[in-house]
Amino acid sequence: MDGPLASFRLTREPYYRAVRDEVPLFAAAYAARLPLMLKGPTGCGKTRFVEHMAYKLGLPLITIACHEDLTAGDLVGRYLLDAGGTRWHDGPLTLAARYGAICYLDEVVEARQDTTVVIHPLTDTRRMLPLDRKSEQLEAHPSFLLVVSYNPGYQSAAKELKTSTRQRFGAIELSYPEAALEVEVVAHEGGVSPELAQRLVAFADRTRALKGHGLDEGASTRMVIQAARLIANGVAVRAACMVAIVAPLSDDRDTSEALVALLAAAT
């Protein structure tokens, strides 16, 4: 039944712990086919949340990592020359719309605005995707949903969603989980004890106090999990935190010195 979408179907339930009421909100938005925008800091679980919801709703998930070289043709599709001649190949957006999947544009603000406007006809009552080069007006499959994500924290003026794009979406704000929940997530995903996870989360929390003071963002949950995985694989705690958290966070000498001192104090 899936045909071209078979490889995009998740076979195992992705682990996810709800931070607030984002799960029922997403389900309600899907029931209304309301396109969704997920906003939150890097590494807080936006992508994992989408994967979890795709599995829960029984839908294939097509993910597109947006970047500034992404073109409308990359999203929609193009004619390609193969052994059989010139043939149309659906892009990932068209695949999702044609056969009924969640299409997830990750870090949508990284794409140019003249690229992202191609999604407009899919996000209003038309639910259509014009394939001009194919002379086709594709009506979106009833199961199709468009989801985008971005980190509102450190966008430049050049990387903002147009108002005409932004207002087509409902938005769910995600954030790092509160401490007790983050400890659970880190212990589970990192393969470490809750006691060690608690120490790692406490250290991450101290780095988050530096947001806007030397750091654009403190350590993400993803970074903490990566540190935990290193520890689970035999790396010493301090070394794991240096590799997974401290070193990637900043190149500024003073900020790095402060982070190293905080790590030494915490471990």
């Binding site: 929390d205 106090a209 003071h213 003073d254 402060a258 982070l259 001192a261 790590l263 104090a265």
Partner: protein, 136 residues
Amino acid sequence: MIVEFKQVERPLALFVRGLLGHGVPLHCATEGETRAFANEHGWFFPVRYAMYGDQLGRDVYYAAAAHLAAHHRFGGARMKRGSLRAIQYVLVSLFEDARVEHALMQELPGLRALFARFHVAHESDHASFPSLCARI
């Protein structure tokens, strides 16, 4: 090489913010001041710690900041001397220093190694009140 406060001021301020979750104004004390202290205007640090140099000269500022943070987190209002004799006041202050540092070390066990570098007592020290305090 002797380290001066202005060389560590910025990372030290970030360190304090990470310890407490908020910033505290840090200042350079007047020349001649040998100990860090806190008042309503913020925290004051010596221009330099003349007995320490190189990395130790930087670490002593972090130890001093951590000590002030311990008082900030776990200390109460500044104790009045009242009718305490000088030696009693010194000992009570010493015990309070140890108490708040111990409390902060429960959250930040790595501070033990940092503090230990500067809480130094030797068996060969002459029997005196200062050496008793150092050993305590």
